[in-house]
Amino acid sequence: MVEEIQTMFQGNGGILGFVSAEIAWVYIGCILASLLCVVYGLIQWNRDGKSTRVRRARRVKKGGRPRRRR
């Protein structure tokens, strides 16, 4: 099983078919960085939700006519 995964991962020319390990790791790094953004976005989905819309609405109430939403 481990050998099969290694063969699939390494191919003939090196890791993922690249000659340089540096290139292979940056290729994987791009995918991991993208995954990090996804995981971070999901974990933080509902945190720190204080909105500036509230302040705008209050300011409108005090001074001028209410704005019509479209």
Partner: protein, 532 residues
Amino acid sequence: MGFIITICVTVIYLIVVCYLAYKGWRRTRTAADYMVAGRAMHPGVMALSYGATFIGTTAIIGFGGVAALFGFSLLWLGFFNIMVGIFIAFVFFGRRTRRMGLALNAHTFPEVLGERYQSRFIQGFAGMVIFAFIPIYAAAVLIGIARFMEVSLRVPYAVGLLAFCLFLALYVIMGGIKAVMYTDAFQGVVMFVMMAVLCIWTYYLLGGIIPAHQALTAIAPLVPEKWIREGHRGWTAGLQMGSPFWWIVYSSIVYGVGIGVLAQPQLVTRFLTVPSDRALNRAVLVGGVFIMAMTGVSLTVGPLTNVIFFQRFGDISLAMAEGNVDKIIPVYINTVMPWWFGPLFLVGMLAASMATLSSQFHVGGTALGRDFYGRAMGLGRTGEVFATRLGIALTIIATIIWGLVLPSSIIAVAVAFFFGLCAASFLPLYFLGLYWKGVTRAGAIASMVGGLCTSFVWMIFFHYQESAALGVCRLLFGTVNLAAGFPPTSWVWKLQYVDPLVVALPISFALCMGVSRITQKMPTAHLKRCFK
């Protein structure tokens, strides 16, 4: 038949863009709506707009072509784009920028800096730097799309360039940032679909991911002798450390563009448009996936074009594109991809360039109207929105002029130039201003002016591209640059390939911190307001 389909798809696309621009125009009432979308933009729209503005034609055609030349080493740029351009930018810069921008009621990037340091000079100077140089970056994008329209729609180059600019001018001037962001988001979706198809199809043609990379490894002996002398070791093998190619890729492209993105005015403005930190957190998710699909795909497909071209036509990419790096991806689309992909790619290209250009025009306009005319000159009460619209019109005119005079293979160069200039001038005072209360007004001014001047000195006297184009060094010293006269094996000779940002950014940081240590601190009450 194919040409008629291309025209139909383009017309449908333009109708959708017009509708979205109209929607943005209808919802624009105040100056805040025009500049920062009333600080109430949807996170998904904001993230797609950020990504579409960030990437544009420059990444797809420009960096895709450059990757076909240098190989997979350029993937470092993709990694930096995701980690620095999205994750660090949103998490460590975005939140504080949004809060500080709100506390100081700032509408533009120069205004964030100007208000943070209570300096009309900083705001006006930053505004003028952006207004003066953003047309060069915009022109590079415009050249790419005008050349592509020339081939696909059979529109003469100059006519395409003018017509495209006028169409953009209409919706940016009329609709402000809301029109720009709504259209950007739609354009982002179009670009995402296009790049997904491009990536899957390319790997499919080569029999899968690993076989594709192995096939590219196998054609390493085709690398021209001249490239090997410059440090090329094959498209999948990385570049020889310290060689001219290594310096160009890592100092100008990876470091310059990868780090420079943090101080891009058109991107920082996006942080000011969202209503909460939560919107920024959500935008990280969308942005991370989107940038991966854009830069990641273009930097992967670019090198792989070599092996496909070789298998089908017996030549590597640069030879197929007749030596013009910017033509590699368009030639690949026209000769290798299926016929139905042509219209999709054209629309994707129109979308990418429209997204980037519209934001560039908007930022150029606000830099002149809001930052220079309104604040630095103190004329904000009279006709600021008019001055901004005039600024947009002047930016467009300057872009068209640059578009007609700049040479070929310029896209990646112009992007690196503008990103580097912004990072050297603004990054230290922007970054330290967000995190360190000890930065003083004098420190910020020294950093901004010092960083800009160091960049220009390096460009004029050392960097191989700008020094040759400007000719000042030849006029004064009789040599193309001060490093060119040394033996090619010496470290001094290699200095001509070192990007100005490598030298200017540390100097700019040192000036900011050093001068701040010995000059008068900012008032405590003001700092409390900034960091509340």
